[in-house]
């Protein structure tokens, strides 16, 4: 009995030791900053000196802060790129899943933006969008269209950013879809073919349901990522764009925290953003549960 318990205890120690690094990481880099920021959101901390507890004042101020709503709206608007990206990537994946020559080359081409540094990509698009000599407008000129100065106009800056984020994420999404498509057993299609199903019917009833877990994963991660979009606008529109029309919520948080000495207020916004992401993700999980594929 005693030996067995000893053995058990030893194993337990080893177990703890093995999980120690990730747990430490979680505590130091996630939990501790989170709790600190949570406390900060109830203070008037300027990021330098003392933290004075001011209760819910920051949150109250938020409700009448025009720029908070604006940056929240911008963030949601930019998320229009998510469905566009998903559809494009799925179409691409369907195309590249066929046995035609040159697919490998195309896969590489579409994947290159994913491995490129986001900062470098932003600088490149910054040039491309230049109203005067930018590639985009030069291209449009071929068709006789006079392009706007994309990043300086409040009506075009958001679509411009969406185009870029879609382009950047396409390869990653496509690759995941491609992997999902390739794991679908040929036998389903053969059976459907025998039953005389059309191409569209096969897509609707076999392909789409089979890649659904991947779609779910992508939607969840893209929304979380999309809520935190920052680098692109920080490089391309460093002042938040014309009339703040390209500032995302994270951009606004950063602006308040590091430029305007309002770390407490910024923490409050970060909390709201965290809650928002949590709720949206929760809804998605619930929806996925309800409609999940009961077969197999």
């Amino acid at each position: 009995m005693i030996t067995k318990s000893n053995l058990y205890r030893k194993e337990k120690i080893y177990g703890y030791l093995f999980i120690l690094p990730p747990i430490l990481g979680l505590l130091i880099f996630t939990l501790f900053p989170f709790v600190y920021s949570l406390y900060g959101s109830f203070t008037d901390w300027d990021g330098l000196g003392q933290m004075n507890f001011i209760g819910l004042d920051n949150f109250k101020d938020l409700f009448s802060d025009e720029l908070f709503y604006k940056s929240m709206y911008n963030t949601l608007f930019l998320m229009l790129g998510i469905p566009i990206g998903l559809v494009l990537a799925l179409l691409l994946a369907l195309g590249l899943n066929r046995k035609i020559p040159g697919t490998t080359t195309f896969r590489v081409i579409y994947y290159i933006p994913v491995i490129s540094s986001l900062a470098a990509v932003s600088i490149m698009w910054n040039w491309a969008y230049n109203g005067d000599y930018g590639l985009v407008n030069q291209f449009l000129e071929l068709f006789g269209i006079k392009g706007p100065n994309w990043l300086m106009d409040k009506d075009t800056v958001k679509p411009a950013l969406i185009l870029m984020t879609v382009w950047k994420g396409l390869g990653y999404t496509m690759l995941l879809y491609l992997a999902a498509l390739q794991s679908v057993s040929r036998s389903y299609y053969e059976a459907a073919e025998l039953d005389g199903a059309s191409g569209f019917q096969m897509f609707r009833n076999i392909t789409w349901p089979m890649v659904k877990p991947v779609t779910f994963f992508l939607v969840v991660t893209n929304i979380i990522g999309g809520s935190q979009i920052f680098t692109e606008m920080n490089i391309m529109t460093p002042t938040g764009g014309p009339e703040y029309s390209s500032a995302s919520i994270v951009f606004y948080i950063w602006d308040k925290a590091f430029k305007n000495l309002q770390m407490g207020y910024a923490s409050a916004m970060a909390m709201i953003l965290g809650i928002f992401i949590f709720i949206v993700t929760l809804i998605q999980f619930k929806m996925n549960e309800k409609s999940s594929f009961d077969g197999d």
């Binding site: 430490l24 130091i28 300027d46 330098l48 300086m152 009339e243 430029k259």
Partner: protein, 447 residues
């Protein structure tokens, strides 16, 4: 239960240990026993090189002191510094903007340099721009007086440059450096110089192309208006004189067509146009001198055109070099600051590298007389510092949020979509609200 508690306790202890380790601030002894100072700064490539050379010289003259340099990109500098302060990981010596002086002093970030400066035999405050030193004085209530918390790295008078070669080619009489243009004259000269030189129907040589954020001040101030009142607590942009200046600024593009239009108005663009010799007038700061030395044309300086006051106006930028209140080697740190800002040896090297104007009055006199280097009329820089230059409005307040939003929202005015008069009316309350907040924040930080 107890086991769980023990485990949690271990975790907490570990956590604290890690936190304590991470919290070590700068100023460490290096392995060979010499004193190591960290110096965080920013600047263009020529500037970085100049500073590296000066510091190398400092190290040679001060055996036992090593300086570790941390350079960051200009637009990320402020953020990095704030992060270093928040993370309790401040470099020993660092640049800071005069606008941040009050916040940094109130929260105990900056070391009071006054006793060190008074003690030092090498420093003669009378031989340094008073304006520059005053920028870094603070008595706990008002900036501009009291103890010294930093020394000016330099002063950056923002002058107006013109392309002399272009004037000569076009047969337009050269501007008189002692008699600034009026706004009307300025428009006329610009219109003469805005040209379609290759006959494709669009002008490819422009009069000018100002970035609103850095050039509007010259027009507003010269017209007798300002962003703030005397007490620095009221936003005064709804003054008709202000609207008039802003309207004039926008009209340069929309009405007089002397600057590149909406679709070409990016800053990068106008800077490049000037560099290529396709622009008659462009603002010049001392930091540009090394780059502009290689311009394919002759350029010189003159005052900005004058509005209703009849007097030219512009701003003087500055960055201070401060010492962390937590540095281990305050004497050496202050020594380095002095070497960079007030010593003859240090200043000479920086001035020769053409990245700044001299901080020392006697050296400035000599420098102005030297006609071998561009621009010829260096006196203009000195006049701005001595006579008519001012600090940017955001410098006076606890944060510059209220000021920044003015430029964030301004695009429709520049595009001619709304009038300046409507804009200032709509923007004033918004800015006032943010300014009130900044004032309140400042009060809180003082107690």
């Amino acid at each position: 239960m107890t086991k769980k508690k023990g485990f949690a306790l271990t975790m907490v202890v570990l956590l604290l240990m890690v936190a304590a380790l991470a919290g070590c601030s700068g100023g460490s002894s290096s392995s060979d026993g010499s004193k190591e100072l960290t110096f965080m700064f920013r600047g263009g490539t020529d500037e970085q090189k100049a500073y590296k050379d000066v510091i190398k010289k400092f190290e040679e003259e001060h055996p036992g002191v090593k300086v570790k340099m941390v350079v960051t990109a200009a637009d990320q500098y402020a953020t990095k510094l704030r992060a270093a302060i928040t993370g309790n990981n401040l470099p020993d010596i660092f640049y800071f903007a005069p606008g941040d002086l009050k916040a940094y002093v109130n929260s105990g970030v900056l070391k009071d340099l006054t006793p060190y400066i008074e003690k030092s035999k090498d420093i003669n405050l009378d031989n340094i721009w008073k304006y520059g030193v005053d920028l870094y004085r603070y008595d706990g209530k008002m900036a501009g007086q009291g103890n010294i918390y930093g020394m000016p790295k330099d002063l950056g008078p923002f002058a107006l440059g013109y392309n002399k070669t272009m004037f000569e080619k076009a047969g337009v009489p050269l501007p008189d450096k002692d008699k600034p243009y009026t706004w009307d004259e300025f428009i006329k000269v610009n219109q003469e110089l805005t040209k379609d030189t290759n006959g494709d129907g669009k002008p490819d040589q422009y009069g000018t192309g100002f970035n609103v954020q850095w050039a509007l001040q010259a027009f507003v101030w010269s017209n007798g208006a300002d962003w703030l009142d005397e007490s620095k607590t009221k936003v005064t942009i709804d003054d008709p004189k202000f609207a008039e200046a802003l309207q004039f600024f926008a009209d340069m593009q929309n009405k007089y067509k002397i600057t590149p239009g909406i679709e070409q108005s990016q800053t990068l663009d106008t800077y490049q146009r000037w560099m290529k010799g396709e622009m008659a007038f462009f603002p010049v700061g001392p930091w540009d001198m090394s780059t502009f030395e290689k311009l394919p044309f002759e350029y010189d300086l003159l005052p900005f055109p004058t509005g209703s006051t009849g007097k030219p106006a512009t701003w003087i930028g500055s960055l201070g070099i401060g010492v962390s209140s937590k540095t281990k080697y305050p004497d050496e740190a202050v020594e380095l600051v002095n070497y960079l800002t007030t010593s003859k040896e240090g200043m000479k090297q920086l001035v020769d590298a053409k990245v700044q104007i001299p901080n020392l009055l006697d050296m400035a006199d000599e420098w102005v007389k030297d006609t071998k280097t561009k621009p010829n009329n260096k006196q203009e820089f000195i006049d701005i510092v001595k006579d008519y230059g001012r600090a940017l409005p955001g410098n006076y307040t606890y944060n510059a949020e209220w000021y920044d939003i003015f430029f964030t929202d301004i695009q429709p005015v520049l595009d001619g979509k709304i009038t300046a008069a409507d804009y200032v009316k709509q923007e004033q309350p918004k800015m006032q609200k943010l300014l009130d907040k900044a004032v309140e924040q400042e009060k809180k930080s003082q107690k």
